[in-house]
């Protein structure tokens, strides 16, 4: 972007919004918006507290387990649906319902099924993330050119080797896109799960700070979470870029 003939660096808009936040905060418009500088100071001391570290660990733990399960199940179901019309017809309707359903509404039911602890949060992460991975994997598998598969078969790749050496690799760009989108949804899942269960991890801290109108800490928590989610997404995007050229030449 250029402004008055000068090239504006990429992160400049973010900086501009930070300045606006600081001004609004200093002006004391609302106690809901403390100055950004105060929030950053709060964030700095927050990460040093034992309660934040414990909450972050619990949250990360639930998130990673839920995501790992979602990736495994999502890719397996996606491959099944991409390869078999029967599986596609049987499962397609459910995947399409769940991918757009407001899953937060299901969390109370999950609490009854899985209790008030981490299991519920793991299941929530799984349910938030898995469907988009299924859909993207399925699309990737269906985009694998027939001739590439025939090539594998004619040079002696049968059964599992056809999948490990040809099909999964050929579908990798879409599978990675699915995992990236799944991760973003998984972050929502872990926070919503913990908020509704409301006695563990990040959700507990959110609940604590918002109930006490401790806005500096509340915003600090939010910013750390957003940064983590964006960092994860950027990481996958980085891997995606390396395989991006596939799609054009497959």
């Amino acid at each position: 972007m250029t402004l008055f003939g000068y090239r504006v660096p990429m992160m400049a808009s973010l900086l501009a919004w930070c300045v606006i936040w600081e001004i609004v905060g200093q002006a004391g418009v609302s106690f809901l918006v403390p100055p950004l500088s105060d929030v950053l100071v709060a964030a700095f001391s927050l990460v040093q507290t034992g309660s934040w570290q414990a909450a972050a660990l619990t949250t990360l733990n639930s998130f990673l387990i839920g995501m790992a399960l979602a990736i495994v199940a999502g890719v397996v179901i996606g491959v099944l649906m991409g390869r078999s019309t029967l599986a596609d017809n049987l499962l397609g309707i459910w995947v399409n319902i769940f991918v757009s359903a407001p899953l937060s509404a299901l969390v109370p039911v999950l609490m009854i099924l899985f209790g008030m602890g981490e299991t519920t949060v793991v299941v929530t992460v799984f349910l938030f993330a898995v469907w988009i991975i299924v859909l993207d994997t399925r699309a990737g598998i269906q985009a694998v050119p027939r001739s590439l598969e025939e090539m594998g078969r004619s040079y002696g790749a049968g059964g599992l080797r056809l999948y490990s050496k040809i099909i999964l690799l050929a579908a990798l760009p879409e599978i990675l896109a699915g995992i990236r989108l799944g991760m973003v949804r998984g972050v929502k899942g872990v926070v919503i799960g913990q908020l509704l269960v409301s006695i563990i991890g990040y959700g507990e801290l959110f609940e604590l700070y918002s109930r006490n109108f401790d806005m500096e800490n509340f915003w600090a928590l939010t910013i750390i979470l957003f940064a983590a989610a964006m960092g994860l997404s950027a990481l996958i995007e980085n891997i995606e870029k390396r395989v991006e050229y596939y799609a054009g030449v497959r």
């Binding site: 090539m151 078969r153 004619s154 002696g156 690799l169 596939y246 030449v249």
Partner: protein, 267 residues
Amino acid sequence: MRNITAAASAAATVPSPDAAVEVRGICKMYAEMEALRSIDLDFPAGKLTTLLGPSGCGKTTLLKIIAGLIPATSGEVRVNGKPVTGPGPERAFVFQDFALMPWATVMRNVAFGLELKGVGKDERQAVAQKYIAEVGLSGFENKYPHELSGGMRQRVGLARAFAVNADVLLLDEPFSAVDEQNRRKFQEDLLRLVDLEKKTFIFVTHSIEEAVYCSDRIVILSRRPGRVAQIIEPEIDRTASPDAIRRDQGYLDTVEEIWQGLKRYVD
């Protein structure tokens, strides 16, 4: 030029001893559509035989049945006397759209058939290196397919087929996605490799000139359902230079004769 259509149908009942691939009574139905009707053919060993015909005559289907990639509805294919039940190491396929793995280098693509056979890394790379040089791609071993032109990609496909040392090479319109000038060069190189490698080639094309230029024997298939309409042996002196062949009277007459035969199938 020799028209051996009648002789071929007689030979169908008595298998000729030098046939690398024998096709007996192959029929193929796709749901209600009849693609191939009782095809009987012998493909002589060490020769290049072309399957030529109008689009939709089932020539690629026949080639894939010989490759074992799709099953025939009835009939039998034998390669070196053994019935075909699926793909096998004695046959190698060259694909119309190259079918290269975009995530692998030229080296790994060429060595892929050997990798699947479990050949060790050093050994398979040495073999691949030899064929990469033979198709004229030395220096491109570590490039990826998207860094190559269409003609070069198909050279990779060809090297991959040679590297597995199969007896029979099946080429499905290998030059149709290559531009005209590269195609001519490619055809000349192919003839050199046919001479060098002493393998049996089965070649599918829709270009009459290409068929006459490259083939020892041309099988012309009729429009759907595909049947053997005519078999021609061009008998062109291949010791002459490529440019002399393209101006040879026998070459031009054969092209004309095939065109007259095929004209009725064109809409």
